[in-house]
Amino acid sequence: MEMFTAIGLNHFLTISAILFSLGMFAVMTRKNAIVILMGVELILNAANINFLTFSKYNGGMEGVMFSLFVIVLAAAEAAVALAIVINIFKTFKTVDVSSVDTMKE
C-alpha cells in the first residue's frame, strides 16, 4: 500500500515510460504523418517528465532548464515538421507515409 500511496520517483518514471512507449508506438505504426508528429510530442513530453522528476529528486535546476529548452525546441520542431508535412501533401497528395518511399530507389 505504501508503494501506491507515497508518490515517489518511480511513479513519475512509470508514467513517462508509458508515455514514451505510446509515442514510439505511434511513430512506428501509424501511417498518418500528423499522428506520427503527435507521437513525437508524446515522446518529448515523456522526456520532460523524466527531466523534471530527476530535477526534483536531486534538487538541481538542470532538469528544469532542460525541460524548458525541450519545450522551446518542440515548438520549433512542430512548426518545421508541419511545414514539411504540408509539402509532402502537396507533392504526393497524401500524408500516408507508407506511400512516401522514394528513398527506396
Binding site: 518514471l13 512509470t14 510530442e41 508524446l42 526534483k56 532548464m65 519545450i71 515548438a75 512542430a78
Partner: protein
C-alpha cells in the same frame, strides 16, 4: 492536503495522461487523436505541478495546447479536405507494434525498478521555482537560451520558407 488526497489527485492525472495518450495513439480518427492529445498535455502539465515545476506546467499549457496543438489541428485541416469524412488512418503492423510497445514498457520499467538506487536526494526541490528559472536563464544558461532563441527564429523562417517555396514551386509547373 494530506498524503492520500495528493495521491488520489496524482493518480487521477496520471490516468488522464496515460489513457488520453493511449487514445491518441490508438484512435483511428485524426481529429479525435488531436483532441485526446490536448488532454494528455493537460495531464502532463498537472504532473509537472506535482514535480514543483509550475512555471514549466504553465509553459506546457501555453506552448503545447496553445501553439503546437493548434498547429497540429491546422495540419489536420490542411491535409484532409473537410468534405472528406474519412479521417481515419490505417495502422501498420499492429500486432508486432503492440508487442514491441509492451516489450518496451516492460524493458524500461524493469530497468527502472532493478537498477534504481533512485533514492531521493537530501535537497529536494520545494515550492515555486520561477525565480530560480529566471536567475539561471540569465546567468548559467545564457548561451543555450540565446541559441534556443536563434533556433526558434530559424525554424520559423524555415517553416515559412518551406510553405512559401512550395507555392513558388507549384507555380512553375
Amino acid at each position: 492536503m494530506n498524503q492520500l488526497t495528493l495521491s488520489i489527485i496524482f493518480y487521477v492525472f496520471a490516468a488522464l495522461t496515460v489513457v488520453s495518450a493511449a487514445f491518441v495513439v490508438f484512435s483511428k480518427n485524426v481529429i479525435y487523436s488531436a483532441f485526446a492529445l490536448m488532454f494528455t498535455f493537460f495531464g502532463v502539465a498537472a504532473l509537472y505541478v506535482f514535480l514543483s515545476a509550475d512555471f514549466i506546467a504553465v509553459t506546457q499549457v501555453v506552448v503545447y495546447v496553445g501553439g503546437i496543438l493548434v498547429l497540429l489541428l491546422f495540419g489536420v485541416m490542411f491535409t484532409n479536405t473537410i468534405m472528406q469524412t474519412d479521417l481515419k488512418t490505417d495502422v501498420l503492423h499492429v500486432v508486432p507494434g503492440t508487442i514491441l510497445l509492451l516489450l518496451m514498457i516492460a524493458g524500461i520499467l524493469y530497468t527502472f525498478y532493478t537498477t534504481g538506487d533512485w533514492m531521493p536526494g537530501e535537497a529536494q526541490l520545494q515550492g515555486s521555482v520561477v525565480q530560480r528559472i529566471g536567475f539561471e536563464t540569465m546567468s548559467r544558461y545564457m548561451l543555450p537560451f540565446e541559441m534556443a532563441s536563434i533556433v526558434l527564429l530559424v525554424a520559423l523562417i524555415g517553416a515559412a520558407f518551406l510553405a512559401r517555396y512550395d507555392k513558388v514551386h507549384n507555380k512553375d509547373h
